[in-house]
């Protein structure tokens, strides 16, 4: 990092105010801004440009202007995949809230020592690679896997069940991968919950259900919204889990995009699918932000 050797021209401010940046402060920030522009903004713009181009016979790109890629996105075949992706991701999100909310709430209300222990227990799966955690389920659900072995050893089934490559397997994989991402944001807003408000609800004659529905849920909504953003959107585009757990039988939008870029080599169409997915992401993000989601806490 280059730094000015001479004393800065500006005197140190007396208060705690932040200073006006001089050219040096701008120069120091420039690498980071340039990095973000070059590797986040520019690629997104090029993606948008590609989505209006055509492919040639060998998988190259012809720069032209066509809406064909977008017309194709709305072809029933792909539309169905979009709907399925959103459906599975939605189901995953709902299951994560159902399993995760009570856990997060309990952890947030636990005495401090206990709370820290429980948090550590959630952190380990949170930081463990989703690939490894998905593989764990493969060893359990595969035809020659543990669950079938167990069922046959107990003579509950005579022939192995086909558990893998089903929608259920995909949703199990997604829920298992994303559950910690739902628990932590809900925990952080449940922890800030002022419990005297809940007690006030009780004092005013609300039952536990009523207090939960009209006090606790609204106050922890930012956590639910942040969790949804961390679960719902990534789950739509997650091709690895759907590929491992669902095989080719249950393709989701991520699998189609991946296929266009790596196998079919139709980059413009893949880019158009990407742009549509990105708009879905942007809309979800804005909607959730409006609900008062604070994502980075």
């Amino acid at each position: 990092m280059n730094a000015p050797d001479a004393q800065s021209a500006q005197p140190a401010t007396t208060g705690h105010d932040r200073r006006q940046p001089g050219w040096r402060a701008w120069a120091l920030l420039a690498p980071m801004v340039a990095w973000l522009v070059l590797f986040v903004v520019v690629p997104t713009v090029i993606l948008l440009v590609y989505s209006f181009c055509e492919r040639d016979e060998v998988g190259g790109v012809i720069f032209s202007f066509t809406l064909d890629n977008y017309t194709r996105v709305f072809d029933p075949v792909y539309l169905r995949i979009f709907v399925r992706s959103v459906g599975y991701a939605g189901l995953t999100t709902i299951i994560c809230v159902i399993i995760g909310y009570p856990m997060a709430y309990y952890i947030a209300r636990a005495p401090e020592a206990r709370r820290n222990q429980l948090l550590l227990l959630v952190m380990v799966p949170f930081w463990t690679s989703f690939l490894i955690r998905t593989y764990a389920w493969i060893t359990i659900l595969k035809q020659e896997g543990l669950l079938n072995g167990l069922l046959q050893a107990l003579q509950l089934t005579s022939s192995p069940l086909s558990l893998m490559y089903t929608p259920t397997a995909v949703v199990i994989g997604l829920v298992y991968a994303y559950l910690p991402f739902m628990i932590l944001p809900i925990y952080s807003s449940a922890e800030k919950l002022d419990h005297s408000l809940v007690e006030a609800a009780y004092d005013l004659g609300a039952g536990p259900l009523r207090a939960f529905a009209s006090v606790i849920i609204p106050l922890t909504m930012p956590g639910i919204a942040a969790g949804t953003l961390l679960v719902f959107v990534p789950a739509i585009g997650m091709f690895a889990i759907t590929d491992l757990m669902g095989g080719a039988k249950v393709p989701m939008i991520g699998n189609v995009i991946q296929n266009q870029f790596m196998q079919a080599r139709d980059w413009p169409f893949g880019a158009a699918l990407g742009v549509v997915f990105m708009s879905m992401f942007a809309v979800t993000y804005l909607l959730l932000q409006r609900r008062g989601a604070r994502i980075h806490e």
Binding site: A3, P4, A6, S8, A12, R18, R19, Q20, P21, A25, L28, L29, P31, M32, L36, V37, F39, V40, T44, I46, I99, G100, P102, M103, Y106, R109, L120, L121, M123, V124, P125, T128, S129, F130, L131, I132, Y135, A136, W137, T139, I140, G145, G149, A153, L179, P180, P234, I236, G237, M238, A240, D243, L244, Q258, W267, A271, G274, M278, F281, Y285
Partner: protein, 256 residues
Amino acid sequence: MLNRALGVWTLLGLVFLYLPIAVLVVYSFNSSRLNIIWEGFTFDWYARLWANGPLIKAAKNSLIIAGVSTALAVVLGTAGAWLLHRYRYRFSGGIRTLVAIPMVMPEILMGISLLILFATAGMRLGFTSVIIGHVTFCFPFVLVAVQARLQGLDPALEEAALDLGATPFKAFWFVIIPSLRPAIVAGALMAFTLSMDELIVTYFIRSAASTTLPIQVYGLARVGLNPMLNALSAVFILATVAFVLFSAYLKKLHPR
């Protein structure tokens, strides 16, 4: 009563989270090739893992990529956090939003857009392209970690250093950096872990020579069951536990 029910639910949730991982680790010591029946205790799969050329090569690649990406992410993230904290930039709201994008953007979109960028620029895929991708999604996490600590930092610290005649750079280097160390270490650990585990972005922007461990594991997991993967997973899980415990220890040592 209600609290008890919540407690039981939490316990069940934790069992759901841990049982598959535990099973994975236990069966990495099973001498049977087919996972179902327990035939006896063995370290054989770990030995085979160690002798597996492509996996070890991929692991080395991953360590190199994670190491370089973490170093760059720490520099960009720490400098960025300090500058955004210290100076009132024009567009600083916009810059913050830009920093947040790589953290929330779906990985597949980052992967394909970077792939298209590199293709358009005529850049060959390899270590550089993978490291660029990894730095892009790692450094915002360092920035946020450091920023959180800066908010709790006494502004008098820097002022005192400046009053005593330090240049702004010296004040930053000798006063601010040391007091940010726990956050920098925590951010670096986070960046390293994120980079080691990343699959999706890497999948689009690597070359055969710069294949990372997760890519290799993904390929093997697609084929089917392989006790060697259990052994590898056990190593990864152990490393994750160490990481989480160390992060918790850092937090305990330097509470905000």
